[in-house]
Amino acid sequence: MANSVIDWLYSLFGIKKDIKLGIYGSVNAGKTTLANRISMDWIGQQVGKVSVIPHETRIVQKKEKVVMKRSRKKITLNILDMPGLATKIDYKEFLKYGLSKKAAKLRAKEATDGVIEAIKWLNNVDTVLAVMDATQDPLTQVNITLLGNLESRKIPVIIVANKIDKKRADPGEIRDAFPKYPVVEVSALKGKNMNNLYDAIAKHARRR
């Protein structure tokens, strides 16, 4: 209640403070690339390392006090880059990338712990960017389960249709699959359409 009153007073001056922005999505959707892009654009710092090997992010990576300005609004974000959500993690997949059996098994164990940690964080985030790879079928159980949980917990969500720089990208498929949600098409890698995303964050992000 006290938070709501304080937030309302701040909003009169166009200020949104300390919003915990969770970046969620399937593995290799481009979550860390997006987190890095947002953080680099506003404070010139990276959030985490990006890799072609799945499950590179296995712990929650944070970047606090990222101050974003949109026209007369000032928004302070605490960015939380989450491990990718998955219903399966097979260590044998990592062997294809040249990892030893021991390293692959360790990565799989850490990745399973990462998924559990990301799920636990759903109780603490204020607003979520649900990142989807626009070159892939969006109607996956992970995406459906994620959006269902955000809706039932009343957490504001913006779907980020990422990788639109790729030829096979079809962000329209994401819009068709989830018509109830705001969808912003971006290429986090190339920095394309990021202003549209920042406008959407300024519009939808709020503390819970």
Binding site: L85, A86, T87, K88, I89, D90, Y91, K92, K105, A108, T112, D113, V115, I116, I119, L122, D137, L139, T140, Q141, V142, I144, T145, G148, N149, E151, S152, A177
Partner: protein, 133 residues
């Protein structure tokens, strides 16, 4: 190699308290069996299913594949669904979230071991499953 499917009625799953239901499902699936039921888990149970699956992943069990079709709740059934949710919330308060029972939503769910299910293709009103044994 043979692939086994278990068809479990939603009534049988409704009977189980929340803390037992996920374990019951995963015991069947980890055994190499595909479970099909005439109901859909609620979002919080779906996420619990993923969480519990991750706890059970090992060398022989890489996880699960899930596909579900929920019957859209319209009109009176929508009101009924909301009332049931409220009833479940009240039950959670008095009995505790883990011991409480809750009804599955109307629909269809398939949960199977990822080592056999290679691909699930979902459409708004149907899904297809490709298995390899």
């Amino acid at each position: 190699m043979k692939l086994k499917m278990n068809f479990v009625s939603s009534a049988a799953l409704d009977e189980k308290p929340k803390n037992k239901r996920i374990g019951f499902i995963l015991n069947i699936v980890k055994d190499g069996t595909i479970l099909i039921t005439d109901g859909v888990l609620k979002p919080d149970e779906e996420i619990d299913l993923i969480k519990e699956t991750m706890r059970r992943v090992d060398d022989g069990f890489p996880g699960i594949e899930v596909a579900s079709l929920k019957k859209p709740a319209k009109g009176f059934s929508s009101v009924l669904e909301k009332l049931t949710d409220q009833k479940d919330k009240l039950q959670n308060l008095f009995v505790g979230a883990t011991d409480a029972k809750s009804s599955l939503r109307t629909g269809l769910t398939l949960i199977g071991p990822a080592r056999f299910i290679k691909k699930v293709k979902k459409n708004p009103n149907s899904f297809s499953v490709l298995t390899e044994v």
